[in-house]
């Protein structure tokens, strides 16, 4: 169910009327995963939205000490909640994989100049 979202015409890009929509690259990936999985029917939007509302409500009821408001942090949490709730992935394997990624040798990321041939930080 690909949506016909592209815009024809030469008018000014919509960003000139708005702002950058993602502050960090991971936010865009979390957004893209949720929309993709919804379109594939892995979960319903209502289900995802309920998880998002629950995450936001929990944070607003008791904000984590020293943690700034981050909308996409809650978005990611909601995505993990619906996927683990539905058995698509387990929280443990996400954590294990993230820990493995964290152990990558320095030089993987942009801190070192000799890795310039990896413009994307996600696998293909």
């Amino acid at each position: 169910m690909t949506a016909p979202l592209s815009v024809e015409g030469p008018a000014a890009p919509p960003r000139s009327n708005g702002e950058l929509v993602f502050a960090e690259p991971w936010e865009s990936r979390a957004f893209g995963m949720a929309v993709t999985l919804y379109e594939e029917g892995v979960f319903t939007w209502q289900g995802f939205q309920a998880a998002l509302i629950a995450r936001i409500a929990a944070w607003e009821a008791a904000p984590a000490e020293g943690e700034c408001w981050s909308y996409y942090r809650h978005w990611l949490g909601a995505l993990e909640d619906v996927l683990t709730g539905g058995g698509t992935v387990s929280a443990g394997e996400v954590t294990a994989r993230a820990q493995a990624l964290a152990r990558r040798p320095t030089g993987h990321d942009h801190a070192h100049g000799h890795e310039h041939d990896h413009p994307d930080d996600h696998p293909h």
């Binding site: 993602f22 892995v42 939205q49 509302i53 981050s70 394997e93 954590t95 993230a98």
Partner: protein
């Protein structure tokens, strides 16, 4: 919720990357397709779409009636649709009534016509305060409304996405639809601003 303990130690960027790897291995997401989806929302799907809808409604009375009657269908006539556009309800601002949109529980927003929401729309302060003291919040955002203007706060529900049809500013009677499009701002279509004549 079970992941909270670990999330303390692992950055959201790492968890996101891990999740994308696992979903890619299961064949549930295609990173290249996701690149295209993200690019679409970063560059193509935005308030310009809504501006075209508004300018059409200002210049075509029959379209305006269809838009207020069935927002999703009339917006679809211009080729805009997709996720978060399934049930768009359009409300009209006038000299005496001012609608402003919020989603108090999360951040529901009509993506096909406005793109993804700006950070202030998602902020807990806006979401809580616009309901309690809309006139004050609008004033802080630069919109002073006369005391006799009725303010209606439209809170998104699980189904409805609101779009404000702003009042066409005086002095634009001679402008064409194409000339009107660039005047229409995202903020006016959320209801936190008015459209100004050029």
């Amino acid at each position: 919720m079970t992941s909270d303990g670990s999330a303390e130690h692992l950055s959201p960027a790492l968890r996101t990357e891990a999740l994308e790897q696992l979903l890619t291995e299961r064949g549930l997401v295609d990173p290249d397709a996701m690149d295209r989806l993200i690019t679409r929302y970063e560059t193509n799907v935005g308030p310009l779409n809504g501006a075209k809808v508004v300018a059409r409604a200002w210049t075509d009375p029959a379209y305006r009636r269809r838009l207020l009657d069935d927002g999703t269908a009339a917006i679809g006539e211009l080729g805009f649709g997709g996720p978060q556009g399934e049930c768009i309800v359009v409300v009209e601002n006038t000299a005496t009534t001012h609608n402003v949109v919020v989603c108090t529980l999360c951040s529901c927003y009509p993506w096909p016509v406005l793109g993804l929401p700006p950070s202030w729309y998602k902020d807990p302060a806006y979401r809580a305060r616009i309901v309690r003291e809309p006139r004050t919040v609008l004033s802080e955002m630069g919109l002073e409304l006369p005391g006799d203007v009725q303010i209606i706060v439209r809170d998104s529900t699980s189904e409805v996405r609101w779009l404000v049809l702003p009042e066409r500013p005086a002095g634009t009677e001679g402008l064409t639809e194409e000339q009107l499009v660039p005047l229409v701002t995202r903020d006016a279509m959320v209801g936190v601003a008015k459209v100004e004549a050029p």
